[in-house]
Symmetry: C2
Subunit: 189 residues, 2 copies
């Protein structure tokens, strides 16, 4: 199974307006597009992918959404639809114990360190170049501003490896798609 | 310069509601995401990219939007923002002569055949595998339903080559990102 851990230090931890994902929802649009690129194939969903979206924005962090491709329903590729599913989960509210919001979408109070409890690859521009599918297929990515200094130090110490998709600097959601594509190619060759 | 020609047989040719891009706007969300993946880098825009979005949906086709990275302003990566720029162009209205709507976005009455007046590569699942950057860097892609039979026949006859990004079937916007990524790697190596 492939896993993507997306950390957003700004994304809203309370329900938000679907009209203003970048502004009042704290760049929730980035998280939304990450779910698009993690799961969507043409007329299909990637059933072997799981995403942890760690939301650390105001007013009530941490909140973690766990999105499970094998169970996912009702998700369309447009931002407004995906955002409405996230909103639904935030309306349900996060508790210590993980709870299901809609099929394939779970919400809990887990935070950054909880998300890194298993082995992972840190995707970062300063990493070594991608040379074939890594031995671990859990990937950690920051949001539009990247991990903060403290998170980065914590992640670097624990990451199995740090890998760069280079040569350009890509958006987080684009990095997920590129990773999916590279793994598709290398797994099937 | 890289060029992407995106053909949508359903996308609205009149102003639409930003609340319903997939429905009443005829899958305008697909066109919008294609502009995202064509142009956005982290904190940067791809100035060497141009997109032709050929809109063939009701009520008044054809309309072609030409989006020029070198001149582009006011575009943010979220769907609602990009859609509002397209809406602005459609409100201005299309005439035979191309006119500028906002910086980098032009609208005209050009149609499918006009868009294929220069050499291009057809991106299609049935094509030959991608083996290095093609000699022509103009790429033709269909929308969520692909080109119709007549368009496909026209395109196949004129395409310099037909290339597949395989091995999976990707969304149109994802194909653009993968192509950008492959060209980034191969151009800089």
């Amino acid at each position: 199974m492939r896993r993507f851990i997306v950390v957003s230090n700004t994304a809203s931890t309370e329900p938000f307006s679907l009209k203003d994902l970048p502004g009042s929802a704290g760049r929730m649009d980035v998280v939304v597009r990450c779910l698009n690129t993690a799961f969507f194939l043409s007329n299909d969903l990637r059933r072997d992918v799981e995403v942890l979206a760690v939301l650390l924005g105001p007013p009530d962090p941490p909140v973690t959404l766990r999105v499970v491709g094998a169970e996912l329903k009702y998700m369309n590729p447009d931002e407004r639809n995906i955002a409405s599913l996230i909103n639904h989960a935030l309306m349900k509210g996060a508790s210590e114990a993980e709870r299901r919001s809609t099929p394939g979408i779970y919400i809990s109070r887990r935070g950054f360190e909880d998300a890194l409890s298993e082995e992972f690859i840190l995707l970062d521009e300063d990493g070594e170049p991608w040379h074939g599918a890594p031995e671990v297929q859990t990937f950690l990515l920051g949001d539009q501003k990247g991990l903060n200094a403290e998170q980065m130090e914590y992640a670097r110490e624990r990451a199995r490896r740090t890998v760069s998709l280079g040569p350009k600097h890509y958006h987080t959601d684009h990095c997920i798609l590129i990773t999916n594509y590279l793994l598709d190619r290398e797994t099937l060759l």
